[in-house]
Amino acid sequence: MPVKRTEKTRMPAREARVRARDFQEVNRGYTTFHAAFEAERCLRCQEPICVDGCPVKIPIPDFIHAVAIGDMAGAAKILRTSNPLPAICGRVCPQEIQCESECSMVKRCESVAIGHLERFVADWERTRPLAVMAATTRKEKIAVIGAGPSGLVCAGELARLGYPVTIYEALHAPGGVLRYGIPEFRLPKAVLDWEIGVLKATGVEIVCNVIIGKTLALDELLDKHGYAAVFIGTGAGLPQFLGIPGENLNGVMSANEFLTRINLMRAYEFPEADTPVRVSKRVAVIGAGNTAMDAVRTALRMGADEASIVYRRSEKEMGARVEEYHHALEEGVKFHWLTNPLEVVGNAEGWVTGLRCQRMKLGEPDASGRARPIPIVGSELLLPVDNVILAIGTTPNPLLTRTTAGLLTNKKGCLVADEQTGQTPKARVFAGGDAVTGAATVILAAGAGKRAAQAIHDALAPRR
């Protein structure tokens, strides 16, 4: 009988003072000892409801049991058959609101650290020679649009089912938000490259620099290039702006621009790399989701003296993962809660000098279920800052829908698709991930990609 331990085995992390000034990964990962110790905490419930909390339905107790008995290869196999991106999901999933929130232990103490264990197993797998697992057994070609989380997972699943799959990616490198959005200190590019390498080894072809809807029409894929089905995983990449005065001053940018310059274009290596980014002494990031945390922590690493979050609601309504918030606090990020930006203020040359804000209080819940922020009269304040980064959300890119007949979008610009199968109103066209849901998480996109792959398989090879 394992000893009852009420707390998770802590994830070893690099010292905040040191890590806040470089781009190396914050979390060090469990050692074999940590992993075995933590795996023993799992109660191996008869009806493991943690699995219900997982969008890709990883048989969680099974892989954890394999870790507990030291069968890493077995654990890796279990993970990989249900989640084609375990090294990524183990790092970036909000486990605390998914699998870990359903863990039976939560009622009495801390849940099992499922995410940390997933990462441990996936990292172990990365040290092993690559095992090629799929062979092309089917003749129907499938095209996937977008090499982000949903597209990669959909392609991986289809390859596993024996289909020849081609992913078309608009940018010059695959990964989508995993490459341009999530910073190195949270998801090292080596991990992403390894996962993409696994997909390629299973036969997935990735073609970069092709923008479906521009370079090639979606209908051309179906009619001219002979694809039997298409999966759209174009994500939600269009940044939103607040529409407040001063938003186009020099020094104001979307978090997408800021992170893309750094993550995809390697602006931190300027002038060795050619794309610059201007980070000044005092940086304000508007918003409090994961992208906001990524941006504000990146600003510190780019040399900002002071990096702060400005959010119109409170800590409780914040959208970021708990771990990201804690890491940000440890690294010295300042938080202006209940503070609503009204105007970006600039100097005569058109550069940002400050952010005029208003204090808020919380009222009744609004349509999103979160408490509605209400302005406090006469509470205006000016935050002296030289950079303003907007991380207030993204919407699906209209590029493909504008140029493709037969697809439908809702009023938020999201593609209409069946929640279970991803089938769009257009025959042989499926969709999933942020393009359908609006900006959500990597794992929800992965789940949608996986379900769509199964639906495509069901449509092409009906089960008798």
């Binding site: 010059h172 370079t215 990449g237 020099n250 621009e257 310059r261 995809l264 050619d274 610059p276 201007r278």
Partner: protein, 280 residues
């Protein structure tokens, strides 16, 4: 990787490239652009598609050396490959048919008139191109543009070719009925200051005028918002909503200020490249 089929120096700082890019050639429309990258760690830069040959599967671009990346592009020769070419991006130029269309090409902006003037002439519009430069040696693609439109008006600051003066002065004369006469539509492509001057020239005459904006861009697909331009008081993304906008609605002052955001870094990169070249 797309191979360069042909290159030609047009002026000491501009170079013509024909590139093997069948997919882009098949779908390109006037007004659209491509994003190029020439080396690992390199910038993504937007370049207007000057022309395309759907049968040959090639596109034409003209690159002006303004910074480190464009200098690197201009160092490439026929037979070499370009690391990344993505496109066609942006929306095509929309001009109502049947009128007298005047394309104004300032400096290397003349290049973008190639496919535009041809398409408009072929569909039956009356077309005039005004090509302008400081002197006759800096005028580019005159022989190429000439067969593509009804009239070609040359302007040089020093009078060494055609009309002596700015393109806007010649345009003003046309609006008053001189030469090919008053245009119904004007499309200006070139340096921001010239496009702003064209907008001012046609504003009072209420001539429908489009300008092809060239803001800083990172991805070129709508993802970064760095290319936002204020048009009629609203922020528009040049990469997806443009790059052509109603000239009379564009906030040029803001656009010019935003384009200088990275001037310091651009100089630094150019100096560094020059030093590296000198060291060889």
């Amino acid at each position: 990787m797309p191979r360069i089929l042909e290159t030609r120096r047009l002026t000491p700082v501009t170079k013509y490239f024909r590139i093997d890019a069948p997919l882009i050639a098949a779908s390109a429309q006037p007004g659209q652009f491509v994003i190029l990258r020439v080396r690992e760690g390199g910038e993504r830069i937007p370049i207007t598609i000057a022309d395309y040959d759907r049968d040959a599967g090639s596109i034409t671009i003209v690159v002006q050396e303004v910074g480190a990346t464009t200098k690197r592009v201009c160092a490439l020769e026929a037979g070499e490959e370009i690391l990344d070419v993505a496109g066609p991006l942006g929306s095509k130029v929309e001009v109502p048919p049947g009128g007298h269309v005047c394309g104004v090409g300032g400096g290397f902006g003349a290049a973008a008139l190639l496919c535009l003037m041809r398409e408009l002439t072929v569909r039956g519009d009356r077309t005039t191109a005004i090509l302008g430069a400081r002197n006759r040696d800096l005028l580019i693609l005159v022989d190429e543009v000439r067969p593509l439109c009804r009239n070609v008006e040359l302007c040089t600051d020093d009078g060494s070719a055609g009309f002596k003066g700015f393109v806007t002065q010649r345009l003003a004369q046309m609006i008053r009925g001189e030469g090919p006469g008053r245009p119904d539509h004007v499309i200006a492509i070139g340096p921001m200051a010239m496009m702003r001057a064209v907008a001012e020239t046609t504003r009072e005459a209420k001539i429908n005028t489009l300008v092809s904006m060239d803001p800083l861009m990172v991805d070129g697909t709508g993802m970064c918002g760095g290319c936002r331009v204020t048009v009629g008081g609203r922020a528009q993304f040049a990469c997806v909503d443009g790059p052509c906008f109603d000239a009379h609605q564009v906030d040029f002052e803001e656009a010019m200020r935003r384009n200088k955001q990275y001037a310091r870094e651009e100089r630094q990169a150019a100096d560094r490249l020059a030093c590296a070249a000198a060291g060889e």
